[in-house]
Structure formats: C-alpha cells, structure tokens
C-alpha cells in the first residue's frame, strides 16, 4: 500500500522536474497525450503534453474523448494502443543477408536507437509488461527485438483512480492499484490541490525520486490516495466471472456458444491488435529485385487470420467460431498452461475497440452460465 516512509509528494513542478530528469538521463519519454481524438501513448517532450483535463467515455465498440471538469492528467482509461507498440513493434526487421563468394553474410536486428521511460502507464498495462516479459524474454529462446527494447526501460506507473466502462482489472488482480513492476508509482490527487503521491519501486526509481522537489507525504495524502484507488476498484463496472477460467474454458471447447459469438464476430483481428499482451507475429522474407539481398521482416499477426493456422493442406482454424474460440481460450485459459499466468489483464481494450462491440467478460459469463 501507499503507507510507510517512502511515500513522497510532488506537485506540477515536481512532475516537470521528473520529465527533466528523464531527459537528462537520455530517456525518450512515452506517455499519454491527446491525439486523433483519443488519449494515446506517444513520445512526449514535456509534462504539458499530458492529457490534462481529458477523459474518455468507453463502451463496447465505443470510444469518445470527454472534457473533464477538473485538470486530472491520468484519469483516462485504456486508449487505442498500449506500450506494446513501443517494445514489441508492429514491424521489425529480424535480419538482412547478402550473398558472398563463400556463403551468406547475415546481420541481425538493429539495436534500438532509443531508451524509453514509460510515464503514466496504468497498472493493467504494467501487468501486461510482465506478461510480455514472461513470453518474449523468459523462455528458452528470448526474442532479441523485444528484450533489446525492454532492457533499460523505465516504468512510471500512474495508479488508476477512474476506471472506464470497459475496465475489469480489479477482477483480474492487475489493478487499479500499482503492486509491482514499476520504478516509480504516481497517484494523482485533486482535492486540496493538484498533487501526486510518489513511491519508488526500484533503486533506479528511488534514485530519480531523490532528485525531485518532493516532500514526505502526510497521512492525509496517503489516505486520500488509498481512498481514490479503492473507490476505483469498487466502482469498476465489469468483471470476469468467478472461478478458475482455464477450467471453464477447457470444459467449453465444444460449447454451442462459439457459434453464437461467431455470428457477431467480424474476425477483423482488432481485439488481438489492441490487446497489450497479444504477441503473435508472422515473418515475411523479401528480396530486392536483384535477388542478391534478402531480408526477413516480422509483423504483428493475429489468430483471427485464416492464414495464421495454415499447414500444408489448408488452415486448421477455418471457421470464425474456431478462431474466436482460439483467441479467448488462449487469453483466459491455455495461457496459464503455457506461461503460468493469465493472458488477460482486464484493460478492456478488446471490448472498446471491437467494432462489433463483443465483450470478453460477457462471453466468459455466458460460458460460465451466468445470466447476462
């Protein structure tokens, strides 16, 4: 929790100082900002670019920016993309190769040119980073593209004090409080002056915090932060059904409900693309027209593509029903067996950014036989 002697308090000047300190240390800062009618994660120069006074109204298949009647900068729910975009890029060159007299010379993925400080990441997305770490960095064959970007990335989380209509992190145990995986954690407080409770979660975070114009947080501030986050959890409108999801999913492999979802599902793949943990990729080999230079590129792929499961003879998962089943089964069920954790962090993006408004919590509830 936020108690203890480590909680500090900074104001807007302190937040500007944080940006300054990160720039001084050569971090490229990525944080939420208003762009294209959304609050989205982008490279930021100053704290002024944060979405002060903006929130978003979300619902199944629905997202609209909304002006707030206060100046909150972190009271927006998950936007169109997570920080996955920066650490697991949509497209990356794995290698390029040239023919030489005695063989082939291959050089492989370019090292990243930037070191990121991810500022204002909500706890659900911090949990998603832990999921990507497990999949892409902690297996027997780590992914060099992800690990090169992830290594040295600094995380400043902002606890969630105002969940959106589509949020359900509380039922996934990933939020709204920050419980780990961060260097610094902020809790935004508005009543009684705009200020931020700050806690360090790592030596790097503690070192940064020492350099900020901060003062110890009073018990009143700490209590206010506790209340704000607890209220967020209490008012969260959606939740996953109770009980172990992997068993629920495994027991429903032949459920008629998959056909019901398929009648509504566009199999467009948007849910997988906006999901902060969906990691699937395809590779494509290309040549220049001379044929002497070859490259292998990889890009985000999705289990909603028919080609995704293609083996000689045809696709394994041809029907829309089987592709939706694969996605939700992996996310909520088999992810546990493959990686020892859930693939869902409850950010709600797949609900908001599904053009058909399909709601993973409702589909899971239907499988569980809960009344909708």
């Amino acid at each position: 929790m936020r108690t203890g002697d480590t909680a500090q308090l900074i104001d807007m000047t302190g937040l500007e100082a944080l940006f300054g300190a990160l720039h001084e240390r050569d971090y490229t800062i990525v944080g939420p900002t208003v762009r294209d009618g959304t609050v989205t994660m982008a490279e930021l120069e100053t704290a002024a670019e944060l979405p002060w006074g903006w929130a978003a109204d979300t619902g199944p298949g629905h997202y609209r920016l909304r002006r707030r009647d206060d100046d909150a900068g972190f009271a927006h729910c998950a936007g169109p993309q997570s920080v996955k975009t920066f650490l697991h890029p949509p497209r990356a060159r794995l290698w390029s190769a040239d023919r030489t007299p005695d063989g082939v010379t291959t050089t492989g993925p370019e090292p990243p040119t930037k070191r990121y400080a991810l500022v204002g990441v909500h706890p659900c997305d911090v949990a998603a980073l832990a999921v990507l770490d497990r999949v892409l960095a902690h297996g027997e064959h780590p992914d060099p593209v992800y690990t090169a970007r992830r290594d040295g990335t600094l995380v400043v989380t902002a606890e969630c004090t105002e969940p959106g209509e589509t949020c359900f992190c509380a039922s996934m145990g990933t939020g709204p409080a920050a419980t780990g995986g961060y260097d610094l954690a902020l809790t935004e407080l508005l009543d009684g002056g705009h200020r931020f409770l700050v806690r360090a979660g790592s030596p790097a975070g503690a070192d940064l915090l020492e350099r900020l114009p901060a003062r110890p947080a009073s018990p009143v501030d700490v209590a206010a932060a506790d209340t704000a986050v607890q209220q967020a959890a209490a008012t969260m409108p959606r939740r996953m059904p109770d009980g172990p999801l992997p068993e629920l999913i495994a027991a429903n492999r032949e459920s008629p409900h998959w056909a019901d979802v398929a009648s509504r599902c566009l199999t467009c793949g948007n849910c997988t693309m906006v999901c902060p943990t969906c990691f699937c990729v395809s590779t494509t080999d290309v040549t220049d027209l001379t044929g002497e230079h070859a490259e292998r590129w990889r890009q985000w792929d999705s289990c909603f593509s028919v080609d995704f499961s293609y083996v000689h003879g045809g696709p394994v998962r041809a029907s829309g029903a089987s592709r939706y089943r694969q996605w939700i089964s992996h996310k909520l069920g088999t992810w546990h067996e493959q990686f020892g954790m859930s693939g869902c962090v409850g950010c709600g993006r797949c609900i908001a950014w599904c053009p058909a408004g399909i709601d993973i919590t409702r589909e899971a509830a239907a499988l569980a036989g809960e009344p909708s």
Partner: protein, 277 residues
C-alpha cells in the same frame, strides 16, 4: 525496470550451412546433407527440428532425418515455394539453419521394452534417427518392429535403409494404392500392427505421419493393450519462429515448437479429438 534478460540475436539469425549431398528420394521428396559454412549449431536429438531458410524465399520447420558428425540430414517434401526451393538446392549451395528446437523421442526410455515404430509417408523421416539409435544399441531393447505405410510404392522413402533394417529387426511395408509390379501388401498401416510380433503389454510406440493415421494407429495400439503413456506422436502445426513467441503452433495448451513436436498420446488425444483446435 531492467529485470529482463538480453537475448543475443543468434536465435533469429539462420546459420549458413552448405549442401554437401542431395538425394532425390521420390518425385517430390529430397534428402539434403548439410555441413556448417561457419559457426555450427548445437547437436540435434532425434525428433527435434530445424527451421530451414531458403534465402529470399522463406523459412519452414523440418525435422532431422539423420546426422553424420556435425552434418545435419533433412528430408524435405516439396509442397510450397520454400520447400520447392530447398528441394532444388544443389550441392555447394548455402541455406540457413536455426535450431535445434522442440522435444525429442526419448529412445532411452524404451530400454528393456519392445519397440514399435509406425510411420506414414514422410513421417518416416523424423523416425529414422530413432531406428538408427535402436540398432546402434540393439541389445538394450526387446523385439523391435518398424511398420511403414505409403500412398504408392514410388513414394516409399529410404528403401535401402528399410532393407538394411530388415536384417536386424522386423520391417513391414504397406501401400494404399499398389502399382503394377508391386508384390507387397496393400492397405492401411494399421493393418500391419498384428504382424509386428511385439508384446503389446511391454511395448513402446513411436508414431509419425498424417494426423488421421496417427489417431487410428494409436487407437489400434491401445485396443491391443499398449499403454497410452507409452505411445508417442510427432505433431505438426504452422511455425514461424521455433522459439515459442510467434504463437502459430498452438494446439490447445501446447506450443508445439516447445512442448512438441513429440507429444505423449495421453496429452495429444483429447486435443486431436477437437475439430479446428
């Protein structure tokens, strides 16, 4: 947070291997013997696979079908652009290799048991290292039978090996569609099981072939009293990385590049019974 490991790029970069020998097994199947043209790869076990790159064309997973010292032997059937390019690779040409990936046939665990090797079509390729390992330590095992099915006589792989193996262990061959001049058996590979001459109660079975053939074979073996947890299958799904992070090779809870391709029947059976899983 800096809590992740830094991966070297070596996992995604194919190592150059030169084609030393190229042998046309059938009209559409070729066996390549490869030797490293630079830094080589760690030793492959039987059942494991490599990702083979035809530069500029693409990459496919291909099981090891043999080895000779540091040389890798792969048998490839031309079914798409990449496998066509690999099959066309002439001696001297360089192709890319990554690996070894996946689980192995645990041949050692069959010591003291009777052994059944059942192959359909090109499924004999990943099983060839199993047979060679059994023969290399013949006395460690009980009765051994190799049952091979093919669609047509001219699609039979490794006829020389089959003749050599037959001097040590029982080898039975059957084809779906006999051609004029074929004096052997015709039918499905499951029909060979009664001829195997092994003691079902103490047999270990290794199966590789089309999924429908493996399912039928496994069921027939269980019916005859082979224990389910002594039946092993090699499964196939789309694969793009071999490393567990492309997501393509999922079969329910399994990532077949990591948890397979060799999987025990008790794990595989409920998964193979679900359509479009």
């Amino acid at each position: 947070m800096t809590a992740v490991v830094t991966a070297t790029a070596s996992g995604v970069i194919p190592r150059p291997y030169r084609v030393i020998h190229r042998h046309e097994d059938t009209a559409d199947t070729v066996t390549l013997e490869l030797d490293r043209a630079g830094e080589g790869l760690p030793e492959f076990g039987p059942g494991q696979f490599a990702m083979l790159t035809a530069y500029g064309i693409g990459e496919v997973p291909i099981s090891l079908s043999g080895s000779r010292g540091t040389r890798l032997i792969h048998t490839i059937r031309a079914v798409g652009a990449v496998t066509r390019a690999l099959c066309a690779a002439a001696p001297g040409e360089v192709i890319g290799v990554r690996g070894p990936f996946g689980t192995q046939w645990d041949v050692g665990a069959a010591a003291g048991h009777d052994v059944l090797v059942v192959a359909g079509g090109i499924g004999l390729a990943p099983l060839r290292p199993v047979v060679e390992r059994l023969l290399a330590d013949r006395l460690a095992y009980g009765r051994v039978a190799i049952l091979v099915g093919a669609r047509q006589p001219r699609e039979l792989l490794y006829p020389g090996d089959l003749r050599r193996w037959a001097t040590h262990v029982r080898v039975e061959v059957i084809v779906d569609r006999p051609a004029p001049g074929w004096r052997g058996r015709s039918g499905l590979v499951t029909e060979l099981i009664p001829l195997a001459g092994v003691d079902a109660g103490r047999a270990v079975a290794y199966l590789c072939g089309p999924e429908v053939m493996m399912r039928a074979t496994a069921r027939a073996l269980l019916d005859r009293g082979v224990a389910a947890d002594r039946v092993w299958l090699s499964l196939e799904r789309a694969m793009r990385c071999g490393a567990g992070w492309c997501g393509h090779c999922q079969l329910g809870p399994l990532l077949l590049c990591r948890d397979g391709p060799v999987v025990g029947y008790p794990v595989a059976e409920p998964l193979l019974n679900v359509r479009e899983l």
